[in-house]
Amino acid sequence: MSNWDNFIFTFFNARVMAEYLPRIIDGFFLTVGLAALIVASGLALGLALAVIRSFRIRPVNWLIVFLVDLFRALPPLVVIVLIYFGLPPVGLAPSGFVSTWVALTLVLAAFAEEIFWAGILAVPRGQWEAARSTGMGFAQTLLWVVLPQAVRLTIPPLTNRTIAITKGTALGSVVAVAEILSQASAGVSFSSNPSPLTLGAIAYLILFVPVVAFGRWVETRFAWRR
């Protein structure tokens, strides 16, 4: 067998690929679902924390800053493993899927909180004063005047961070989540051939190239509108 044939046999083995394609497709949809859950809950929690922080209740803010720094400092994989293996002894036994979802939600929320908070601080004081001078309360001003501007400012950095953390769904393979990487590695073990990994890589590209392109579009779209 020539080197070229050997390469094709190893990484693009049609028989192996055909056999494992359905599993990769299953993994693909599971990854999409997991990623969507993480994005929705992570951004919502991050925004909620930033809003709570803007009320500047000192002990509450210390707690928020502590948690945010904690989850920004810990490697996401460590958080996943801690939840998956650490909670059963205290009577909770989250599945690998739930562990990954919760862990990456916490990590995304931590980064999103910092970004939203920076956005809230970046809205000029004069905006607060103008709204308050018309009789709007603190919460009304935050909701109608400050947050719409803050969110707009934060969309580019938020998009990048969201993409980075969503790719962390691959870490779920460590705790037996049947996502793309997990399905691909299983395929490699069963078939003794790396071709399923090639399929897995292609699946990731199909999923994330459009997301990255969307991020780039968002970045240019919002760069000049201020």
Binding site: R132, S133, T134, G135, M136, Q140, V145, Q149
Partner: protein
């Protein structure tokens, strides 16, 4: 001409910023329909005094009563009180994510609880008063500085305040845009609005003010009708201030 109880009565206002004593016992009493002008060098405390009048700045001591409401009383609903006090800022502070109409209608809807239709009708009327109804759907960035400031005035008058505070309303404007804003202010005055204006527009003060306050280093140094303040200034510091202005 100026009668009835004062609309705005600030007495003995002191304000400290850390170790800095910015206002050293200032009184500002404004009668209905009166236009009071506050002049003075930068750092004299004029803007701080104005901002104490709607509690954007918390006075360190003193009392502020607007339209019979004690602003510094803990039991006072400050948001309800502020509806009666319009404020116009040097940097306009329009909401950049809303149209001119949206800027004017926001508080009408969220503070006064008007329906969208009602709020927009009132907002259109307010924009007509400042001559900008045709720009109702423009965003602030699409407007000139003068137009933005006129929208900001519309935003304040739409709430039908009892008194309007102007904090250097023309200082951020190119000279050719100042006239349009002053014209709106003059019309507002002729409609009977009570106004307190911090500004360097001495021509406007001479023509429109009932009373001029000269502030320096946190105190009201001299006070009187414009003819006296500009024609026959007593205090040395006021004379010096007016001389410096002439030189520019």
């Amino acid at each position: 001409m100026l009668n009835g109880p004062p609309i705005l009565e600030a007495r003995g206002i002191h304000k400290h910023f850390g170790t800095l004593h910015v206002l050293k016992g200032v009184d500002l009493v404004v009668a209905p329909r009166e236009l009071v002008f506050i002049i003075g060098p930068s750092g004299s405390g004029k803007s701080t005094l104005l901002r104490c009048c709607n509690r954007l700045e918390e006075p360190s001591s003193g009392s502020v009563v607007v339209d019979g409401i004690d602003l510094l009383d803990r039991r006072t609903d400050i948001n309800a009180a502020r509806r009666r006090i319009g404020m116009v800022f040097q940097s306009f502070n329009l909401y950049p994510h809303m149209t001119a109409l949206g800027n004017v209608a926001l508080a009408l809807r969220r503070v006064l609880g008007r329906s969208r239709e009602e709020a927009e009708a009132i907002a259109h009327a307010a924009l007509r008063r400042v001559g900008l109804d045709e720009k109702a759907n423009a965003y602030p960035l699409e407007l000139s500085g003068g137009q933005q400031q006129r929208v900001a005035i519309a935003r304040a008058i739409a709430l039908e305040p009892r008194v309007m505070l102007f904090d250097e309303p023309t200082s951020a404007l190119d000279p050719e845009l100042v006239g349009g804003v002053l014209k709106v202010m003059r019309e507002l005055r002729e409609s009977g609005m009570t106004m307190v204006v911090v500004s360097h527009e001495m021509g406007f003060a001479r023509a429109a003010a009932d009373r001029v306050l000269f502030m320096d280093q946190g105190r009201v140094v001299e006070e009187g009708p414009p003819a006296q303040i500009f024609g026959d200034p007593r205090a040395d510091r006021l004379r010096e201030f007016l001389r410096d202005l002439d030189r520019h």
